[in-house]
Amino acid sequence: MDPKQLTIEQVQEILLKEKYVCDRSLATVVYLSLVMGKPLLLEGEAGVGKTEIAKVLSKVLGARLIRLQCYEGLDASTALYEWNYPKQMLHIKLEEIERGDKKQVETEIFTQDYLVKRPLLDAIQSEDAIPPVLLIDEIDRADMEFEAFLLEILSDFQITIPELGTVTAKHRPYVFLTSNRTREIHDALKRRCLYHWIEYPTFEKEYEIITTKFPEVETKMAQQICAFMQKVREMNFYKRPGVAETLDWATALIALNRKQLDDKSVIETMGCVLKYREDLSHLREQVENRQFSLEALLRTSPELVS
């Protein structure tokens, strides 16, 4: 399947096939990114599916996924390329013994054979028929200085290696960047990307996500889970749960063979959703004091159009 021939509807469709529910605006942006060959910067709260979309997309396109997890201290030698010094040294030593030609050795040790490819160079040099999907995950964790390395790659899709020259991509990889916004990304980098903000899902969307991922789930329980999550996100918890937590929770409830929620099972399984002791005890209080009633929640949740 040629990604450049897709339409917005088809993007939505193929993502759904891999059980990724995405609304039209996200599909439009993904479509544009594929067709324009422009990197896509995705921002949003933790656990709303920023990383997932790149993974799913690589799967449906049949493309290789090259992932660069950013962290503080990530530098060019771990992200772009590095010379294989030990190998170069060994080569020199061997040539020494054989009294080889000095000039020749010099050129030999700076060839592709002695280059350790890191994710970014790998993505640019890829020979695959389908260009790979390059996921640069949590770019905000890397230092500001690192963003500068990305500029050349993301605008011209090339990497300059002083000893070898410039390596240009045969096919542009499909690039996705994600950020949790622990700091602002530099404008120069943003300019080279399309931008999209992923919101927490609405009740309807979350319901669709659950029923897509778990077709066997009871309708009532799915509704209860969604209503509950919507409510929890509104409340004052230290860490607001994302869709990832919803899915964890649903998995747990299904594994426990629950057909619907009640106060007891909520408290038993709440560790899937809230990950801080204070949050858990806060919720327990709320449930015990009847301030948090499942019945009332379900009554006020929107009617589903099925």
């Binding site: 917005i8 039209r24 605006s25 439009t28 942006v29 479509y31 544009l32 067709v35 324009m36 422009k38 896509l40 910067l41 921002e43 709260e45 933790a46 503080e72 201290g73 010379w83 010094y85 030990p86 170069q88 040294m89 020199i92 030593k93 020494e96 500001m144 949790n180 916004r181 622990t182 700091r183 602002e184 404008d187 943003k190 300019r191 990307c193 399309l194 931008y195 999209h196 903000w197 004052n236 230290y238 860490k239 607001r240």
Partner: protein
């Protein structure tokens, strides 16, 4: 700039002459209007937008909106402005089958930078503008605000910020620069390569020995390097802090422009993020922008609720174990004290340090008795006074000790 329907309409009419037939001139004009409204848009983004315009069915309004937005906007905060402009700009175009979306401007969400409604808020706006404009007046006028200040010894260094003129601002700027560097230079876990240091780095040693034909002669070491700390500044701009607001603005502006990782917020009864507003070369521009945007300057105080907003919307992504949270407030709180306490606890858990700067602390008979201050005290790493240049210098010293 305060974005209302009127300003948007004005921006649209300004570029009306540039509009023409076809997508390109229209998108260019749209981009210019966006720039007028204070959104950063580059030419390459505009070109990409117009180049990609035929990729979607332009009659599908939602898709077209998404196309322009993904190309031109690169931060969530600009979405409301974009949406307003989009609705206004493309309305007059002959979209026969395009249903106009209702322009729900008055009900824009209460996000920090969401544009506020037009006329009915004019009064408050004026008050805010006035309050800031006052800062530029000769400061004698402000003497009426005789909230506890330092007894008047005429040494400049001793002079309270509440009665300080323009010459002194340089001294302030210097002191702030000092503080900024203190905060900014902490030792990192990351290792820097050098000739000296506790740890040997085999990889670099090998690499360096190549110039001696592979014989290891020089050893390379790793040592720790300087790390940059992030700062979040929460600044009280309610009525009781009025006489200090000149200093506050300078402090916020100075810190923001000296350090790279600073986020700045102001609060009174609600919280606003102003990082992007004061990130300019010129302090006067910054003042203009702030006065246009921030409502509730010199209003009442609700520290608890403001911190709650902060914890809910900003802290999860902005406050980490590397962040120093600086709160500047007199602690006069008219809100719920238990909420304040809980929110302080939350910040404490996330942040590296919490520093509370209280201008009132300087006056001899001041004790942190008010309930708000009482509630916050247990969670503070530092409780200091800022009221004159001397106090800033000693703040700098304390910070140095603290991070050493």
């Amino acid at each position: 700039m305060d974005i209302t329907l009127e300003t948007v309409a004005e921006a649209v009419s300004k570029v009306a002459s540039a509009r023409g037939k076809g997508t390109l001139p229209n998108i260019m004009a749209f981009g210019r209007a966006l720039k007028d409204l204070g959104v950063k848009v580059s030419l390459s983004q505009l070109l990409d937008a117009s180049r990609s315009a035929d990729l979607v069915d332009i009659a599908e309004r939602g898709d077209f909106r998404e196309l322009l937005r993904a190309n031109l906007i690169s931060q969530k905060e600009d979405f409301p402005v974009f949406d307003m402009l989009f609705d206004c700009f493309w309305r007059e175009q002959s979209y026969e089958r395009v249903p106009m979306e209702t322009m729900d401007i008055q009900g824009t969400p209460t996000e920090s930078q969401a544009p506020e409604g037009g006329d009915e808020e004019g009064g408050m706006e004026e008050a805010a503008t006035e309050a800031v404009a006052n800062e530029n007046l000769p400061l004698e006028n402000l003497d009426e605000f005789a909230v506890p200040t330092y007894s008047a010894q005429e040494l400049m260094n001793r002079k309270d910020f509440s009665e300080m003129g323009t010459e002194e601002s340089r001294a302030i700027a210097r002191a702030i620069l000092l503080i900024a560097t203190k905060i900014a230079t902490q030792i990192s876990r990351r290792k820097k390569i050098g000739r000296k240091g506790p740890v040997i780095d085999p990889r670099t040693t090998m690499r360096r020995s190549m110039k001696f034909g592979g014989e290891v002669i020089e050893m390379s070491h790793r040592k720790r390097r300087i790390k940059k700390t992030k700062v979040v500044l929460l600044c009280d701009v309610s009525g009781s802090m009025d006489c200090y607001s000149r200093f506050l603005i300078q402090f916020m502006y100075g810190l923001q422009n000296e350090l790279w990782g600073v986020e700045t917020f102001v609060f009174s009864t609600s919280l606003s993020r102003i990082t992007h507003l004061i990130r300019t070369k010129n302090i006067v521009d910054a003042l203009d922008k702030i006065s246009g945007t921030i409502l509730g300057w010199s209003g009442g105080t609700n520290i608890g609720r403001s911190l709650h907003t902060f914890n809910r919307n900003f802290a999860p992504s902005m406050v980490t174990h590397r962040t120093v949270v600086v709160i500047i407030s007199d602690g006069w709180d008219r809100g719920d004290v238990s909420l304040l306490e809980k929110e302080m606890q939350d910040i404490k858990r996330r942040a590296k340090k919490i520093i509370w700067l209280n201008p009132l602390l300087a006056s001899e008979n001041y004790e942190p008795l008010c309930k708000g201050m009482q509630a916050a005290l247990p969670y503070l790493d530092l409780f200091l006074s800022v009221h004159n240049v001397n106090s800033l210098v000693s703040l700098g010293r304390t910070l140095q000790k603290m991070v050493a």
